[in-house]
């Protein structure tokens, strides 16, 4: 057991975790942030993507102890009350959602991308999202959603 401190969506947490405990399990089972999903448990599908200190990570292959001292963002932190983010809005507008299981991970990978690169090319988008598997949409609408989100963000800055 080890005591860790971190923030999730700006809220402080202090909790005891086992050395082999996985960050995704802590988020889902102890803190009840169930937006991140386990699709493979081996870092290959991206359904568990959260942002840790500004970087998109697959939380199913990160130990909880590695998150000690970090700032974590999950899908639950992307909307405030009835207000959803530009990215979330763009996913709805572009019909980039079918079953919805991969969607939280897709949104988080998109956020990490746009936070560091507000005007991504198709290739930038493909690289940033190639670790997120979607079996429903064929990705065309997701690529469009990322572009639309980038436009919205550009629009709000100017």
């Amino acid at each position: 057991m080890k005591t860790i401190n971190f923030t999730v969506n700006g809220r402080n947490y202090k909790l005891d975790v086992k050395d082999n405990e996985i960050l995704l399990d802590v988020l889902r089972e102890k803190l009840h942030f169930t937006g991140a999903k386990e699709g493979c448990g081996e870092g290959e599908c991206g359904a568990c993507t959260v942002i840790m200190d500004g970087k998109a990570v697959t939380s199913c292959i990160i130990l909880a102890v590695e998150a000690d001292g970090s700032d974590i963002e999950t899908i639950e932190g992307q909307s405030v009350g009835e207000e959803i983010s530009d990215i979330q809005e763009a996913f709805i507008e572009e019909n980039a959602i079918q079953c919805g299981f991969c969607t939280p991970g897709m949104v988080m990978s998109t956020k990490a991308l746009l936070d560091r690169n507000p005007d991504p090319s198709d290739e930038d988008i493909d690289i940033a999202l190639s670790g997120n598997i979607c079996r429903c949409t064929g990705y065309y609408s997701i690529r469009n959603a990322v572009k639309r989100a980038a436009e919205k963000k550009g629009g709000s800055q100017s």
Binding site: E44, Q88, F91, N95, D126, L129, Y140
Partner: protein, 774 residues
Amino acid sequence: MTEEMIGKSVKRIKALEKVTGNAKFVHDIEIQGMLHAKMKLSPHAHAKIVNIDTTKAKSLPGVWAVLTGKELPYKVGLYLVDKDILAVNKVRYQGEPVAAVAAETKEIAEKAVELIEVEYKKLDAVLDVQKAVEEDAPLVHENLGELESAPVFFPKPGTNIAHHTKIRKGDTEKGFAKADHIIENEFTLPMVDHTAMETHTSIAEWKPGRKVKIWTSAQSPFAVRNLLANGLHLNHEDIEVIVPYVGGGFGGKAGIHFEPLVTCLSRAADGRPVKIVMSREEEFNSVPVRQGLYSRLKTGVNDDGEIVAQETEFLWDSGANADYGVNVTRAAATAGVGPYEIKNVKLDSKTVYTNKIFGTAYRGFGHLEILWAIERQMDLVAKEIGISPYDIRMKNGLDVGSVTITGEHIGESHGRVKECLREVAKEIDFENRDSDDLPEGKKRGKGVATLHKAPAMPTNTGTAAFLKFNENGTLNLTVSLTDYGQGTYTALAQIVADQLDMPVDKVNVVWENNTETEPYDWQTVASKGLFMSGNAVIKASQDMAQQLKEVASEPLRCSVEDLVIEDEKVKVRHHLDKYISFKELAMGYTYENGNAIGGPLVARGNYIAQGLTNLDPETGQGLPALDWTYGAHGVEVIVDEDTGEFEVVKIASAFDVGKAINKENVIGQIQGGVIQGYGSAVMEGYQFSEDGRLLTNTFTDYKVPSIADIPELKPIIVENAQEDGPYGARGVAEHPMLSIPSVIGNAVQDAIGVKIKEMPVIPEKIFELIEANK
């Protein structure tokens, strides 16, 4: 209301819940006191179970129940009841569950599974379909003759053949005798996994009085209930099945899966709720897949391209069980020569048991598999007789007046396959395919392929819909058809809104499915959802309109016939300013003095497949198809003629959907389906070791398309209305992935002349063919 509701791209229902992470899948559900289940899996493809020792596992603190096949004398299954819940006496594939544990934590369950000791005696395994049909092949199900099956399936006792569909039309001997050319080829494809992003997950809570409550990631709550009732000898009304959000299905969550196991575990654990979640490795290893297929096609064709005779053999690699696979074999056979009219046909389609993970429904239900053979053969025939692949399809394609291989007459209300083919050929500029602009060693190729599919289902398949008013004049629509990403619920809301002339956001489609409260639907499969539920919803809306008018006719002092529904109101036809709003009628109309009439309004509609018949067992003649959706793809590729590496430059895909109720969601289905077909075409496929162990059991070894893999795609919607479809609509859920492997194979053949007959189409195999041709 003036706005056109049908054809409009209304935003998808529940998109907000999904995009905020609020949508709760079974994956996310926890019930108080819930235990976690884990299965012990067979390491062998075929072995006798000599002994299972669970003593150590049972004594581990935190373990509530340990079960083996001996304690579960049940068989379950959809069409052929051949599945054990846990292996009994022997294992039939590597990955088959032999024992299961329910414990307080996942860790304890895993530890307990490790403590279970199983002694096996290995048996000869049969892994190849062609060997499995030989006379001395090891038998996968020795008791095949004793298994229950639906009356339209014919297992052959003493063999590995679970079902044999025969189609006989005309006289193939005479046809071949007249043919200018006879061309014969064999084609193969491997098993493929659905890889829905949510793995199979179920929770069961056993209750006093032999009752059970189940939460499950299933496509078809009523099929789960029915098969569980039959398998465990429970009463239907004592089983409650709840389906919340489901993370993708693609056929893999149709029928019944781990619900019986968690039910038995909960019963053994004194009614504690028990949850099972497949790991991704288990999903690959122990959850059913798309069947493999060996095809042999012999085609008699004349110089002008007319196909005069076709002899076809399909051997389906169904793996260790065929509860669903028998119907894939049957359904695909009814479409077994593609969307063409051929006068003389002899077709044999056999479901074959082998010692591998077993087969089930997968988007397309056998049609991608047979179309791999049919549409590759078409190009091989065209090449051999020196005719264009486009022309040979136009020459033989179905038209109004054609007769299909089961004797169905194609009429005005059917779709148009040739129109789809014309559209895609035009879109990829099929005739213009030289390589002059490309670097040396690169060749351009273009291919076309057609497709067709009708829903495969029992002749008496039915569905129903309920509508009820809320106090504010909005409506709740309830169906047990499920929406795990297709967008059907959005289209159904549009239909209600159009029928009752109200805003679509005032139609609340109840999302969570529950067999206790919802009307019956057979299954959410087969691209029949919008067609059948759409018709039921139209009837329910008409029923509601009639009731609204009946109540309103009294205060409006006119007959029902003089009333019209407009803009959420019941109006007097000749005095449109005289009306009563839905809100005033919803819970009963109240007069000024307090008198009230009517009452809370509820309406219902149902639909049952019309005019379908069982097939003649000897000739396959009959009417198996509710509606055919036709389509075509065109593809441009650039191939390296030395290495076999290739790039798919563009795909054009056209489908005759009859009427697109929601254009954006139709395009969503086309894009998603085409890319799923693209995965099958160029990267996916199960590989086994020589002793039957699955080698491709992670996303590292089993690649599916990522966003970086997708080629340019042009979806094309063709609309020739289906007379009995809702607003003329046909299903298009499965069709986009059909014939994608074939069209890519055809384009590669066009580029460099290699005759690909094995899926997936990968550079290594193309390279081997290039070398062999040298």
